[in-house]
């Protein structure tokens, strides 16, 4: 609702209110407002305006909503379900495609219903959209409902920088998004402090019950340390790895990091395209690790 409604959007809504009310005669005004995602005041102003519409030579639209329940009469001309416009159709095409893929093999019957529905509703978009949910979608919804109901979750978490899977009980505090990845910030019982987990690295999540200690999201106590580095090639990949904006492509980059092990492994995996210039300890560690790996090859 943050966006301001334009007069054109409002006109569209007024037109769509007519068949909606006709098929839901006596709907509570609050419910109607919720269906259109507007406030009761906005709705009342739409209804008042609609009341004055119609062919003044004959009859105006007859609306009744003083009692808190809305009904409509004498609106035959507008009492038609308007054709869906292209944007509406494409939004449904994408949404349905995503649901179809998420349901997948679990409900073959529903997948068939969705395919039929897509053919019936959005035949022109079948070939030009393709939407699949993130692999971590189910984990996300578990975490999200745990967050909403303040419950604890048991997770299996893969830490890439330690190359280890651990089982933890966490109390989710917030879900954030950065760099195309989603994270859950949570109080971790194992670490007895606040930790950030990448959601796509959680392989299992199960709600284990309430009794969440009352916690608030605090700022991470230790700030990041800064690394200086140079990109020799593959600048796009490096920028995306560190979440640095592409425009800041100077010779020397400043990279905020929290975990030196992660930085060392990342530098190696960038296959020679990144050079850490400072601090010295990290630069030296990169050299040592690279030499150790090279020793495997004799």
């Amino acid at each position: 609702m943050a966006k301001r409604t334009t007069p054109i959007e409002r006109a569209a809504r007024m037109l769509d209110l007519v068949p909606f009310i006709s098929s839901h005669q006596g709907i509570p005004i609050r419910e109607l407002a919720e269906s259109f995602n507007i406030s009761v005041e906005e709705l009342a102003s739409d209804l008042n305006a609609l009341w004055m519409c119609g062919d003044s030579r004959f009859d105006l639209i007859d609306l009744e909503f003083e009692s808190g329940y809305v009904s409509i009469r004498n609106a035959d001309t507008l009492n038609r379900v308007r054709s869906l416009n292209q944007q509406e159709l494409i939004s449904l095409a994408i949404g349905l495609d995503m649901i179809e893929k998420q349901i997948g093999d679990t409900r073959v019957d529903l997948v068939a219903v969705i395919s039929n529905l897509k053919r019936k509703l959005t035949p022109h978009f079948l070939h030009i959209v393709d939407a699949s949910p993130r692999k971590s979608e189910l984990i996300f919804s578990t975490l999200n409902s745990a967050l909403a109901s303040r419950q604890r979750v048991s997770i299996e978490y893969f830490s890439a920088s330690e190359d280890r899977i651990s089982e933890r009980i966490i109390s989710p505090l917030n879900i954030t998004q950065e760099n195309g990845y989603e994270f859950v910030i949570a109080f971790c019982q194992l670490a007895q402090s606040q930790r950030t987990f990448r959601i796509d690295r959680i392989s299992k999540a199960e709600i284990v019950g309430s009794d969440t200690p009352s916690l608030s999201v605090e700022q991470t106590k230790t700030g990041p340390s800064m690394i200086s580095a140079k990109a020799h090639s593959n600048a796009r990949r490096i920028h995306e790895t560190f979440g640095i904006s592409h425009s800041s492509s100077q010779a020397e980059m400043q990279i905020p990091i929290y975990n030196p092990q992660w930085m060392i492994r990342t530098t190696l995996s960038l296959a020679g395209s990144l050079e850490v210039t400072s601090p010295h300890q990290i630069r030296a560690a990169v050299l040592t690790r690279a030499n150790e790996a090279l020793a495997l090859y004799g």
Partner: protein, 313 residues
Amino acid sequence: MSRKSERLVNLTIALLATKRWLTKEEIFASIDGYEGEADSKERMFERDKDDLRKLGIDIEVGTFDPLFDDEVGYRIRPEKYSTHLESVSEQELALISLASQAWRGAVLDSPALSALNKLKSFGVDSDLDSVPSIATRVTISDSNFETIIEAIISKRSLEFEYISEDGTSLSRKVHPYGVGTKNGFWYLTGLDLGKDEIRTFRLDRIASSVSMSGKSEIFQIPQDFQMRRILASPEPQLVAELRVRRDKGLSLREQATSIVDHEEWSLLTIPYIHEVELAAQILWHLDDVEVISPQSLRNYVITSLQEIVQSHG
């Protein structure tokens, strides 16, 4: 209160209700809000027609006498105004609700909601019990998305700056064919006019705002185009053999088609698509992983390590 909205609604009612063509004079006389000089009424009417067209309401123009086109009239055909759908089933409506809710907070949330409300107006109750209670999300807040959709629908060219591998951005001009999402990233596929090839672009790598240029209906989407095929992961054609320390390399073990354990090491067989991608994963594991074959992958890893040693020495 906006009188504009009321005028548009009244214009729609008048043009829908009429059985014959209405002249401009009749429209101006019967609908409130057309005021001022003849010129300004005319301009208001032209704008209103355009605005209704944007809403998908087509105003037809015709003449009273096919032999003399002296006076034109206007009308909206009810059969074009209304959807051709007869109705939807209770289960279908429940699925449409899920599809619409998936957009909550993302760029197309208002069209998704108005689509749902239109379909609810058939008066069918949605049977939510017949569908699983899943909460799928369409996560896209990219402000370019709406322009891209509009360009695909109206078949217009798109222009934007795109970040290439070396981090510099280049201007691209594209005939957009399709959009899609996979694993949280969004993609646009179309004919890159500079390269005369079909290319796929990741939306978060577009460095500028996207703009439409030129006329609409300027191209046709090839008959055999399928966004699904573009985004499908190719079958791995290559196979690598890796030596991995016991209890290490968990993410590599997950991809392995066979694991043979020895005392200190395991031998993993991993199918892969891109050498560079697999090499990055191998290098991540420091001295816990050694490439046995193929030779080109082994060489790539060795060369990379030598470069790292050289630049950090």
